[in-house]
């Protein structure tokens, strides 16, 4: 017993001594500048093939180009949000990127307390009261851009991504009837996707019929968090409306719509990220996804901050700055893509980049039963 203990002790002693000798070399990261970038993801993992991963990838690409130090914190649960942000603040990080709506309040609070640090909140439209504190009544009476001039909320022009998805949907439809199902019609981002989808589909085929449905009128769980309900609802929708493509804009409820599409032998289109990677169970019928290019958005934002060209407030990402797009057309389904599809997509994307293509109606973000 004592023999074993002695061996263990001497092992530890060796480790400590060796560590004391080399710890200075082990901790220093190669760095060409004094800039330090910290990323706090949402709960989960940093290789989730969605916002966590792409935000980190974007920040890392920017850091590499700038020769900056980068580190990531992955909260184990919500009790880590504030503490993880604060640990970067205490370590004198210059730019702190936080990922997703759930970290919104923690980010705003930290930005208010640390006016000299840049904060980048991915997929958040900062809503503050007149003092610059987070406003949970969503009255948003304060002007975030002036109250918190170093807080940038990254937002996307979803209608452009929806437009591109609409072109693909119209191209692969044989019946000329396609469908889109959203969560609730009060969410501007969801509505923008769907308005863009309609216009995009009509641009490819003026005679296309786009059937629209909503999972719920107000129940957020049914709308965005219930794939089982999503599948039941969508199965009915597909049968009644006779659509042969379904575009889902409803988070995990929408993934149920993709399952329903697969079961019905029709095609599905994913949303936000390349769902071919995030929702493999629908791979056999998923043709593409309307994508937010989170990585490019974070990369550009961080680079702009380093180059001192960034401004606080909402930063909009669209085709012009490579912020939205469509996922690679899947070769894994039975679909044969029309030969003119790629050309139409390229033309539309080019027109969006030059700002000449309207992808959203006048009431952009407000659904009025089109």
């Amino acid at each position: 017993m004592t023999g074993k203990l002695r061996i263990a002790f001497s092992l530890l002693a060796a480790v400590v001594i060796a560590g004391a000798c080399s710890s200075s070399g082990a901790t220093s990261a190669p760095s060409g500048s004094s800039l330090k970038i910290g990323v706090v993801t949402d709960v989960g993992s940093v290789t989730d093939h969605t916002f966590n991963e792409y935000s980190y990838e974007g920040a890392k690409a920017a850091a590499t180009a700038l020769g900056a130090t980068i580190n990531v914190a992955v909260p184990a649960d919500a009790s880590d949000y504030s503490k993880d942000i604060q640990s970067f603040v205490d370590d004198k990080y210059n730019i702190i990127v936080t990922v997703g709506f759930n970290l919104g309040d923690a980010t705003i609070t930290a930005a208010k307390a640390n006016p000299n640090i840049w904060f980048v909140a991915v997929d958040v439209a900062p809503c503050v009261d007149p003092t610059g504190a987070p406003d949970d009544t969503f009255a948003c009476a304060g002007d975030a851009a002036t109250l918190l001039p170093k807080l940038i909320g990254i937002q996307f022009e979803e209608d452009q991504a929806g437009y591109l998805a609409g072109i693909v949907a119209a191209a692969v439809s044989t019946s000329g009837v396609i469908g889109q199902i959203g969560g609730i019609d009060n969410n501007p981002a969801v509505v923008r996707y769907m308005q863009g989808f309609q216009l995009g589909a009509a641009s490819y085929n003026p005679n296309i019929q786009v059937k629209t449905a909503w999972f719920s009128n107000g129940d957020l769980t049914k709308a965005y968090g219930d794939p089982v309900f999503g599948k039941t609802f969508s199965t009915q929708f597909i049968a009644q409306q006779g659509v042969d493509v379904v575009f889902q804009v409803a988070g995990s409820t929408g993934n149920g719509a993709l399952d329903a599409a697969c079961a019905a032998g029709i095609y599905g289109i994913g949303v936000d990220v390349d769902e071919y990677l995030t929702y493999p169970s629908a791979d056999r019928c998923l043709v593409t996804s309307a994508e937010k290019n989170v990585s490019a958005a974070v990369n550009q934002t961080v680079t702009a901050i380093a180059g001192k060209t960034a401004k606080g407030g909402i930063s909009k990402f669209n085709a012009a700055n490579n912020g939205v797009g469509y996922a690679p057309l899947s070769e894994n389904t039975l679909v044969t893509y029309p030969s003119d599809l790629q050309g139409k997509l390229d033309t539309a994307l080019a027109a969006m980049k030059s700002g000449t293509l309207p992808t959203c109606p006048a009431q952009c973000g407000t659904w009025s039963g089109q």
């Binding site: 480790v15 901790t27 990261a29 190669p30 503490k83 969503f138």
Partner: protein, 396 residues
């Protein structure tokens, strides 16, 4: 003992007695300490072996473990680390006391996760409904009470099932965890969700006068008053266990349920009561976490406290004072993990691995002791002392 000792001089006898007393009193502390030490050694070996996989490190970087542990310590010693240690320890101590109480009664409560979450729902419900209209002097105690009551209700169910039908609490608490996870999901995205939000999210407790006061630190490094509750709970549970009839009955039922029943104790009532108190403690853990560090929750909110509390209770050998220290230790490890990752490049998940390894060593020891006891019962070991010696050997 006294026979052969009479030939020894009195001084030597006294010295021997003192050594025996020290060994006896050190043994319950020694076992967890050795488990922690061995876990650190295994962790160090793990870091060294896998160092090549980490960015910026060579294969078998023998200095990395020390760098990692030093960074972990440094992280704990920082202002953020000290306050975070207290904040993270709060639910671990509270829920750990509940699990430990269960162990004393011979009950294995794995339902901490569900009880914690249901307690969170209770506190959030108070914050959402009465919060804005009342001062924090009313809302905070009310929300804590609701958290405790919801947690107790969640613990009552498996206790009641065991008392009435004999359904094993391990099975029912694991299954009920899922029930409460989904109840919580529903509550957050439905009735507790902010009406104007485009995505489901609850109110911020600060805006509803339901945030726990900050006892020291500043707004950016807050130590919340929950730790006072946890510190107060330690002597309360200790007195309950060792100075009340109920505590005696709980310990008797745990040591030998048949004898307890034969002695006239209502063991079914004890089971229900113990599980309810365990649930109450976990519910309180959920409420203090919500009203302290978390503040606002979105669907998918979950916790590892329920399971970590089992480690805490085992490491503290179900003794309230032991649980206090093991809760602080696990809280500190979590508080320092981020600094370790940032400064030494070793993933923060290492602390989860260390916790798991500690647990493995503790369980191995418990198993060893149990096997020894069985062997002693069969008469293959001559004395109880030899059994204790074997248990001590098992430690090393």
């Amino acid at each position: 003992m006294s026979g052969p000792d009479t030939i020894q001089p009195p001084l030597a006898r006294a010295r021997k007695a003192i050594v025996r007393a020290i060994v006896a009193s050190a043994q319950p502390i020694a076992e967890p300490l050795v488990a922690i030490f061995l876990a650190l050694v295994v962790g160090a070996v793990g870091i060294t072996v896998f160092s090549g996989l980490l960015a910026g490190h060579s294969n078998f970087d023998i200095g990395l473990p020390a760098a990692a542990y030093l960074a972990l310590l440094g992280g704990v010693a920082s202002p953020n680390g000290i306050t975070s240690t207290l904040n993270y320890s709060t639910p671990l101590i509270l829920a750990g006391l509940g699990v430990g109480l269960g162990f004393k009664a011979g009950l294995f409560n794995i339902g901490g996760r569900g009880q914690f979450l249901f307690g969170t729902v209770g506190a959030m419900a108070v914050a959402t409904t009465v919060g804005a209209s009342q001062s924090s002097y009313i809302t905070v105690p009310l929300a804590l009470l609701a958290g405790a009551a919801f947690g107790a209700a969640a613990g009552f169910i498996p206790g009641f099932l065991k008392a009435t039908s004999g359904a094993h609490e391990v099975v029912t608490t694991i299954m009920l965890n899922y029930v409460f996870v989904f109840v919580t999901y529903w509550a957050i995205s439905g009735p507790l969700s902010l009406p104007n939000a485009h995505q489901p999210i609850t109110a911020d407790v600060t805006a509803r006068n339901a945030a726990l006061p900050i006892i020291f630190g500043d707004v950016q490094h807050p130590a919340y008053a929950g730790i006072l509750l946890a510190l107060a709970a330690v002597p309360i549970i200790w007195v309950l266990l060792y100075r009340t009839t109920l505590g005696f009955e709980i310990r008797s039922a745990g040591a030998n349920p048949d004898a307890a029943r034969y002695g006239g104790m209502k063991t079914n009532r004890l089971i229900v009561l113990t599980m309810s108190i365990a649930g109450l403690m976990s519910g309180l853990a959920g409420a203090t976490t919500l009203m302290g560090v978390v503040q606002q929750i979105a669907p998918g909110y979950d916790t590892t406290v329920g399971f970590d509390a089992i480690t805490v209770a085992l490491l503290g050998r179900s003794n309230p004072v032991g649980i206090l220290f093991s809760g602080l230790l696990l809280g500190a490890m979590r508080a320092g993990s981020q600094t370790m990752q940032v400064q030494a490049g070793v993933p923060a998940e290492l602390v989860d691995a260390l916790q798991a390894i500690i647990l493995v060593f503790l369980v191995v020891n418990a198993l060893r002791r149990w096997l020894d006891r069985r062997a002693a019962k069969r008469g293959s070991t001559p004395s109880v002392d030899a059994g204790a010696a074997q248990a001590a050997e098992g430690v090393a």
